[in-house]
Amino acid sequence: MARYLIVDSRDLTEYTGGRFIQKTAEQLQASGNQVTLFLIENGVIAARQGSQMSANLTALSQQGATVLADDISCSARGVLRLADGVTQASVDRLADLIVEGSDKVLWY
């Protein structure tokens, strides 16, 4: 089992790669790995409560993955309420995850 940190800086709906990165997170988690999806920059748009994409993030968290959304990115975009299963976090948390909480880092 490995600890994967996936940082998503792009709007998940903007490119088809957004679907791929979600699939990657799901498959890694389903394969017994520990996945943290950290949404930052436009990545947090998907975490807005009620958005179509937010259901996927909720499902990912129900699978056991940790889904986090950068606080500054959220406030800059007016994302005030997050989808179920998504927690707001600071870049301090991201640094901690890189330093001590992950084995592999993927940045999308």
Binding site: S9, V91, D92, A95, I98, V99, E100, V105, W107, Y108
Partner: protein, 148 residues
């Protein structure tokens, strides 16, 4: 057994991070995000090596000028619109007394953009060989993708 667990945890702690960045000033949010993260990594005693190429070599152009913000917005935004290079400069200097930040700008990219002679003090003009050494030495490599 408990000792072994502690040793494993200590061994797993990241001490050196390499960041590969190709996004320039005023293009996307990536340089700001990288700087936010680099600051936090340095605070944790992690050495950071940034390999800047393509448009990212303009980030360390020392001749960038802060423009005035519009008068009506200065209360909100401040008097000047600061450039990213200013923050890089601050972090390079902060490394003198703690964890170290090395910032290397690709030689081909600076020459193509005419900024080779304009790189700020502390930024090093280097080659792909430096990138290779950064990657080889790093506990974690973070490649920031560009938008195409």
């Amino acid at each position: 057994m408990a000792t072994a667990t502690v040793e494993t945890a200590v061994a797993a702690r990241v001490k050196k991070v390499a960041v590969v960045l190709a996004t320039g000033s005023y293009q996307r949010e990536a340089p700001t995000t990288v700087l936010r993260l680099v600051e936090k990594l340095l605070q944790r005693g992690v050495d950071v090596n940034v390999w800047a190429f393509e448009e990212a070599v303009t980030l360390t152009n020392r001749d960038q000028i802060d423009h005035n913000e519009p008068g009506s917005l200065q209360k909100l935004l401040g008097e000047k619109h600061p450039n990213v290079g200013r923050f890089i400069d601050q972090m390079l200097r902060a490394g003198l007394h703690g964890a170290k930040l090395d910032w290397v700008s690709c030689i081909l990219c600076v020459q193509e953009r005419g900024v080779e002679k304009h790189q700020m003090g502390g930024a090093i003009v280097g080659t792909l060989g430096d990138l290779w050494k950064f990657v080889k030495a790093a506990d974690r490599v973070i490649a920031i993708p560009t938008y195409r």
